[in-house]
Amino acid sequence: MTESPRGRLGKRLGRILVMLPYVIANPGVSVNELASRFGVKKRDLIEDLNLVFMCGLPGYGPGDLIEVAIDGDRVYVDMADYFKEPLRMTPAEALALYAGAAALATLPGMEQADALKRALAKLGQAIGADRPHAPAGIEIQMESGAPQHLEKLQRALTDGTRVKIEYFSATKGQLTERVVDPWGLIAALGHWYLVGWDHLQSDERMFRADRIKEVESTEEAAEVPADFDPDRYRGAFRGAGSTTLTLEISPSAARWFEDYYPVVSSSPLEDGWKRAELVSGGDRWAATLVMRLGPDVRSVTPESVMKEARSLAGDIAANYS
């Protein structure tokens, strides 16, 4: 059986290998602090310490074993100099940390930007310390749009205030004014997005930062869900109020389609076409998608999308008469 590093044993061992250096560096640290820092129950933590107590150098005599003392709620570890420094980061850990830091460093006006850039440089050197080129080998490309907008939006997020924005809707090809309760900023698909409640549509919406023409701050308090979780916006932008779109795609289009659109699930059909379910950006957006696919799409639901597509096709055709 292969052990995954995220399996139970791997996780526990990984935790022990970073907890011991921490206790050695901070003698007398409390059990409570350790438990919260390493995200374990106190009982499990004490079990970890009791287990380490039985380990050590070959010979396993009194002078060879790791010394662990729990005095009241204070923890001490001795005779374990080989665990003074933690195990180096795995490539996956380094990459995730580096990517997050690199993204945040592109956020204009971020208070900690200077510290973050210094940290990023040090981190970069460390993960490739004995390897000359790294991490020139990782590159995170972000287009940040108008920097002053992102600064204003961040301030509104910190203050918890409502904003008025002038937003360019690409599918409608026009600017609209909206009142938005900002919930968060999400970096995805190479852009920063503002997530929040759009009072114009009475719905949760994502606004691409580079399509915001103006931001006006207000004094009004924004309503933010207490359980707002940025993780919900991963991958396919699965907003709570989002609807799905189901369509069948030709074999030739199916190849690239999933790379470009927020496909939630897809299944092959007998004739080589594929049925795909995706998060809809609204009927208007879905209608433009149907037009772009032309003969490569069939069986679109909901029907309201086809209605919109037919009406839009008429408007477009008028431009060409």
Partner: protein, 318 residues
């Protein structure tokens, strides 16, 4: 003795030994390897090696006697086990902590990486400010870690690749760089069989990535950007000149996105934009994305293509 204790003992012994330990040494000296038969020991030891490597513990095999094929010795080199000293200032550590909060998907990887960095910092804050950021870089894609590891170790990789057009084939690549562009990961490197630098979109890699023996150098003048795919309408055979009419509501967007292009005023505040296009289909698709706010004036072939795409919908109206 539980397996986890045996693993800890193995790490300690292999870190502290000056000379590589043979399988026999390990069996007789390290607590937990007292299996009744050599075969049972061997199986346990193989599993343990695999578990440690999966966690990133650098367990190295060295020949003890260069003349004897069967004289494998095992050691964990200290310089490869320990995290190098980063000397992060408290504010740098705090900023990185915020960054770990922002990582969507691989938050656990980022967080365990951060814990390793913060060992020496007593006052390192555990709680960041209210989480209002998220960064989605698809860093939990399972082949990303192995590719990055191979790149760090300068080992060629082999994988099955399905290009956007063409057939699936097995590629051998020397990884030069990993780029996240518009939210997608690309591996840029030298395709060994084609003897040329290429980019590979990770979502088109089928199955697992295998790291091969061998080594390579990354050319000093290597530039990942020049090997990444361009905008769709820039890829094609014969570039043609196209004229697009944007209606007045699109003016702000044009100023933001196409400032360098050749523009001309048109009736009712519309703007005619001339640009060079190499792929008419990609242009048509892009223009349709704007609904009726943009129309193609030239070339005629592109206008026909628009009407062709609309035809099924226009028929459906009657």
């Amino acid at each position: 003795m539980r397996r986890i204790e045996r693993l800890i003992n193995l790490i300690i012994a292999l870190l502290e030994t000056r000379l590589p330990l043979t399988a026999d040494d390990i069996r007789t000296k390290i607590a937990g390897y007292d299996q009744p038969s050599f075969d049972a020991f061997r199986r346990a030891f193989e599993r343990d090696k695999e578990a440690l490597r999966a966690m990133g513990v650098p367990l190295v095999v060295k020949k003890i006697d260069p003349l004897d094929e069967h004289s494998d010795g095992y050691i964990i080199p200290k310089d490869r086990y320990y995290l190098p000293q980063l000397d992060l200032e408290p504010d740098e550590l705090a900023a990185l902590r915020i960054a770990t909060e922002a990582v969507l998907g691989s938050g656990q990887e980022a967080a365990s990486g951060w814990l390793k960095l913060s060992v020496d910092a007593t006052a390192a804050p555990l709680e960041g400010p209210r989480v209002v950021w998220g960064a989605d870089f698809d860093t939990d894609q399972p082949i990303l870690g192995p590719l990055y590891e191979a790149q760090l170790e300068r080992r060629p990789v082999r994988f099955t690749y399905l290009p956007a057009s063409g057939d699936e084939s097995v590629r051998t690549v020397e990884p030069y760089g990993l780029v996240n562009r518009r939210g997608h990961w690309y591996l840029v490197g030298r395709d060994v069989d084609r003897s040329a630098e290429r980019s590979f979109r990770l979502s088109r890699v089928r199955g697992r990535v295998e790291a091969l023996e061998g080594s390579y150098e990354i050319p000093a003048c290597f530039d990942a950007e020049s090997h990444l795919p361009q905008d769709a309408w820039e890829i094609g055979e014969e570039p043609v000149s196209a004229v697009l009419r944007f209606n007045s509501s699109m003016r702000w967007w044009i100023e933001q996105n196409m400032p360098a292009l050749d523009t001309k005023e048109a009736p009712q505040g519309a703007l005619d934009v001339t640009l060079t296009v190499a792929n008419v289909d990609a242009l048509v698709s892009w223009v349709l994305g704007f609904g009726s706010s943009v129309a193609i004036l030239a070339p005629a072939a592109a206008r026909d293509r628009v009407l062709q795409r609309l035809q099924p919908l226009l028929e459906g109206r009657s």
